[in-house]
Symmetry: C2
Subunit: 192 residues, 2 copies
């Protein structure tokens, strides 16, 4: 038997949620975001993002009434990707006084943005030699207890895999295929 | 840096293709297939399939003009999944006299069939205690040279990832999300 990697998951009730100061989105529209990305690319080269998730519920940050994203963000130029993800997770999810010991696990997916456009692909398309962004999704192993402090302008959602699956309309191509990417893991549901 | 698993890929021109005796599909319709699955389940319990693929082109077997499937098939009761996959790969792709040394690699996805119906999910849905089938997809590392002998009633296709991606209409939910499941690998395109 090929053994599957094991991931422990704990009941949502193990976790405590609070709020903290708002983290403002830097852009108010997709067009603004793409324009700013273009400027940043010229300054810094390819953009690399890191993300986190866990199962059977995925933690997503909701902005406004509909748009959801994975906790994570952009690396600083030259920053180590694991350190950068920890920094972003703390900035988005942790109280300033109480930093969780983030356990960054397996890379589950890599997405490429070939142009300064919204569309991304799970491979670097043929003939694209200078992709504009590479976004990596990592599994983050949570401890049995965590305290999350969520910026006041965002809502933290725990979304089950069956809600994400085949729901590209609501969650987009990256988040809606997380269930397929996690299918190779064996989830050990710990009841506490 | 978290390093990605590396997969060597070779040009299609490295490989030789021949034909062999037809392997007949046991069923002529989806309804027949589901009926036969039901009978087999009663005899043997949960059905487990194994599959193979490689990048940047995925080898698919085409049956008739439209339907494509991954090389693989059903395990015998109690059969080891890696041995069963090798047996199925040889039956579908190898000459009887020349068995490739199949290198079964990482499990890339697991799909569950909760009922005797066509629909499958990349997780076992809540409240399903007796799923009817578990289908696992494995990466198969090919050597620089291989000779494939394809049953005369089937066509072997090498389909690039960009053709599969976002093409659920043509390839179905399992095959069309292979690009997302392979995105975490780093492909080392060897030119020979």
């Amino acid at each position: 038997m090929v053994t599957s990697p094991v991931v422990n998951t704990y009941p949502l009730s193990s976790y405590t949620f609070g709020t903290k100061e708002p983290k403002m989105e830097k852009d108010t529209s997709v067009a603004d975001r793409l324009a700013r990305m273009k400027v940043n690319y010229m300054k810094e080269g390819m953009r690399t993002s890191v993300q986190e998730h866990n199962h059977p519920h995925i933690l997503l940050l909701q902005i406004g009434n509909t748009f959801c994203k994975l906790p994570g963000g952009r690396l600083k130029p030259g920053e180590n990707e694991v350190e950068g993800l920890k920094r972003k997770l703390s900035s988005k999810l942790a109280a300033n006084s109480l930093q969780p010991n983030w356990q960054i696990g397996e890379c589950v997916a890599v997405w490429w943005r070939p142009n300064f456009e919204t569309i991304m692909y799970p491979y670097c398309p043929p003939h694209i030699t200078k992709p504009k962004e590479c976004k990596k999704l990592f599994l983050v192993h949570l401890s049995e207890r965590e305290y999350f402090a969520v910026p006041k302008n965002l809502k933290l959602l725990a979304v089950p895999l069956f809600e994400l699956y085949d729901n590209v309309q609501r969650y987009g191509p990256v988040i809606s295929t997380i269930p397929q990417q996690l299918s190779r893991f064996q989830f050990n549901m710990v009841s506490t």
